[in-house]
């Protein structure tokens, strides 16, 4: 742990990495959706309110924002908000399932500066991907990537959530990315949102985690991870990155109705710090909320205190523990020392995420809902 990382634990004057989910509306119903998205929330921020959020980010010198959802491109003012941000000096990286990127839209995106795009793909073939993201979603994502390539967008990102079923396809994902001139980004599956019910079947096994660690060590410089696999550092060689839970310290989430949570994976009242509509706006939430102040205080290693690997893994991911019913000062459920599995056997009740925006009935995946 470097001195710099120690300082980060105390929090920064402004976040480095903000995820901003513009809408809970989504045409897909992915089984692992971290925000249980599907239906639009009527309390969603208006265009004007979204602009004010951008103004605050600019004033706080937040240099870029990660826009997501739901499917953010569903919002009619999507381009208005993105252009307002990028012309304010707040760069945008947005995540999309690619449904709304046709040839013309790809051309438009290719002309924009300070803009990066992340296409979600959870299988290197249609069968593996569609089992998670819905029928037809693989073809949709591939079509969007072709449009971006043909439009000369440049290097976009392909974003993969690593699961038990796609972890053997990492080399294939890399090949797909290379073929499109794209960059591969792989992140950890958390038991958040709808994944609170699917994580136990989808998360990688212990053996698979060891393979992943080796794969990351040999591909580290070419593949992005959002620092999400730092719990694997307990296996020995450290992966590049900050190696700490950034929740409320360097990271936070603004959800579609303006609620501010400690990170994108803890949409639960326990980690709700405030709302951008509150007096003082986002800045006051970030700087003075009780929730974030607590997260920046000293954290106990708890049951992990006597483990020789604690310095390496820092106890892992807070969200992963919380949504599997484990104490926050104990091992990560995917602790590579095996302590997580033992802990899970006697885990407490599993908290439910705060909002379920899933569509009320099972819809045909890959099509727009008519509800």
């Amino acid at each position: 742990m470097t001195a710099l990382t120690e300082r980060m634990k105390d929090g920064l004057d402004a976040p480095i990495c903000i995820t901003w989910e513009l809408t809970y509306s989504c045409n897909l119903s992915c089984v692992h959706c971290l925000s249980s998205s599907g239906r639009r929330d009527p309390r969603e921020l208006s265009t004007e309110e979204a602009f004010r959020v951008v103004d605050e980010l600019r004033e706080m010198q937040v240099f870029y924002v990660n826009i997501g959802g739901g499917e953010p491109m569903i919002r009619r003012d999507f381009f208005d908000i993105v252009e307002y941000a990028t012309t304010s000096g707040v760069g945008v990286k947005f995540s999309t399932n690619g449904t709304y990127i046709d040839a013309a839209t790809a051309q438009r995106l290719a002309t924009m500066d300070y803009l990066d795009i992340q296409i979600s793909l959870d299988g290197a073939d249609a069968q593996t991907n569609d089992a998670i993201r819905g029928e037809g979603s693989y073809d949709t994502a591939m079509a969007a990537m072709r449009h971006l390539k043909n439009a000369g967008f440049g290097e976009f990102k392909i974003s993969v959530v690593v699961t038990r079923h796609n972890i053997s396809q990492l080399d294939e994902f890399k090949s797909i990315a290379d073929a499109f001139g794209a960059q591969l980004r792989i992140t950890r599956l958390r038991p958040s949102g709808r994944a609170v019910d699917t994580w136990h079947e989808l998360h990688p096994t212990l053996d698979q985690q060891r393979e992943l660690h080796q794969w990351l060590l040999s591909h580290g410089e070419d593949v992005l991870t959002g620092d999400s696999f730092f719990h694997l550092n307990a296996l020995g060689d450290s992966l590049p990155g900050l190696n700490l839970c950034g929740a409320g310290r360097v990271v936070c989430l603004i959800d579609p109705i303006g609620d501010v949570y400690a990170c994108p994976f803890v949409i639960h009242d326990e980690f709700l710090a405030g709302n951008v509509r509150d007096s003082g706006g986002f800045a006051a939430v970030w700087r003075t909320s009780d929730c974030f102040t607590d997260l920046r205080g000293p954290q106990s290693a708890g049951a992990c205190a006597s483990c020789g690997s604690w310095d390496a893994c820092q106890g892992g991911c807070m969200a992963a523990k919380f949504f599997t019913g484990l104490p926050l000062d104990g091992p990560d459920p995917e602790c590579v020392g095996g302590d997580g599995e033992h802990a899970l056997a006697s885990a407490g009740a599993i908290p439910r995420p705060s909002g379920d925006h899933s569509k009320p009935v099972s819809v045909q995946l890959g099509r727009r809902s008519t509800t």
Binding site: I16, Q61, N66, L115, K157, Q183, L242
Partner: protein, 114 residues
Amino acid sequence: MSKLSQKNSNSSKKFPSTVCAACTDSCSDVLNSPLKLHPSVALRPEPFGALAYHYDNRRLIFLKHPSIVDVVKDLDQYPDLQSALCAHGIEERHWDAYDKAICSLIESDVVVPQ
């Protein structure tokens, strides 16, 4: 402004440090070089020093000490780094450390020739 390049990815992958792995010729005789902060770099003050963001390549860089931030901010006001260090009251015995730090900032394109 150029579109995002391959280097942009560093913003999400990791937070590059200011460690200079292998200083090249671009770092020679830094003390006597006329330097300035890159016009596309923004500095955000933080308790540990500052966060530098390069709008051209989308890299985030940490300046890990407040005094290096002070020096970098107005480098363009001085004919060379040495003069800037003198003006900021940095003792000569510490210059080597500043030489290295500025060298790494040149490597990451945060500091450029005037």
